[in-house]
Amino acid sequence: MATSEALAAGTKVETASSRSRGDVAFYTVLALCAAAFLITIHVIFFKAPVESTMGIVQKIFYFHVPIAYSMYVGAAACFVGSAGYLARGTRGWDAFARAGAECAVAMGVLVLVTGALWGAKAWGVYWTWDPRLTTALLSVLIYVAYVVLRAFAGDGDSERKFAAALGVLGAANLPIIHYSVQKWGGNHPKVITSGGGGLKHPDMKLALMLGFLTFTLLAVVLIWTRVRIELAAARLGEAEEEALELGVGEE
């Protein structure tokens, strides 16, 4: 009896210490993300030169491309979480998938809007049915469908499994977005290529690299925060059910 109590106490201490380690790691990533934002904004506006033909509106590029990349990060998290949930059926994987889908929606909306604002200057129109734009819109709609499904279809096991299937299938569109420019052409610029890319100034490259770092950290922070909230809600839900079974809080 005493041994089991000591073991239980030991597990509690271990859980509390791993939770505090998790908190330290989380706040470290959060601080790094904030610092990266400040440095990136400084480099974009005060170091990177203005592009010769497009002018200042080209600076949208330094956020637009990293945001598109962080949409992939969110979508990849949704895919991994969904596949994990289908394989294992644990709440952790489900929370990871849900967080990834929400991040993909937020970043996807940002990609579409910042791209449209850039297009207004570069092409003279906000939107054109270019292959990359169309496939990106399709992907955002898939993740919007996932988020809407999770918000309104209840939180049962079958709903979670259905959403997980959508999360796995939705990822099939991601490589299509990426390769659409190479395969079908279109108006979308092809500045980032395997041959070193079209950024001719080192400060332009630096601004883009910092943008990638910043938005990767932002995606990690958003997904991590969302997973923490989702797991806490799941634990609380279980505690409430247990309390009701024990007759606590019925009146």
Binding site: M54, G55, I56, V57, K59, I60, F63, H64, I67, E102, A106, V109, L110, V113, T114, L117, W118, A120, K121, A122, W123, G124, L218, L222, T225, R226, I229, A232, A233, L236, A239, E240, A243, L246, G247, V248, G249
Partner: protein, 89 residues
């Protein structure tokens, strides 16, 4: 051609093939195309939108956290009542 004449005939932002005198007397609108949009305005709109979406995302998480706090509070109150009841029995 003198420098003054070149400046007068140089194509400017107001349109190709107009002289400084023409530009001083008439204003011609740009017809369609990307010159209709100010790059600075579009840049500010793009960055403002980024911050708004990130803030809305963070605010939604804050709201979810508040809802969780309320549920924890309700459960704690119910537990306290149950403890007091069992202590009184």
């Amino acid at each position: 051609m003198s420098a003054d004449q070149a400046a007068r005939e140089a194509p400017g932002a107001a349109g190709q093939g107009t002289t400084a005198d023409d530009r001083g007397a008439t204003f011609r609108a740009v017809e369609g195309g990307n010159q209709m949009q100010s790059g600075e305005k579009l840049l500010v709109e793009a960055y403002a939108f980024i911050w708004i979406v990130v803030l809305v995302f963070v605010a939604s998480m804050f709201r979810r956290q508040r809802r969780l706090d309320r549920r924890i509070e309700t459960l704690e109150t119910a537990l306290q009542k149950a403890r007091a009841k069992s202590g009184g029995d």
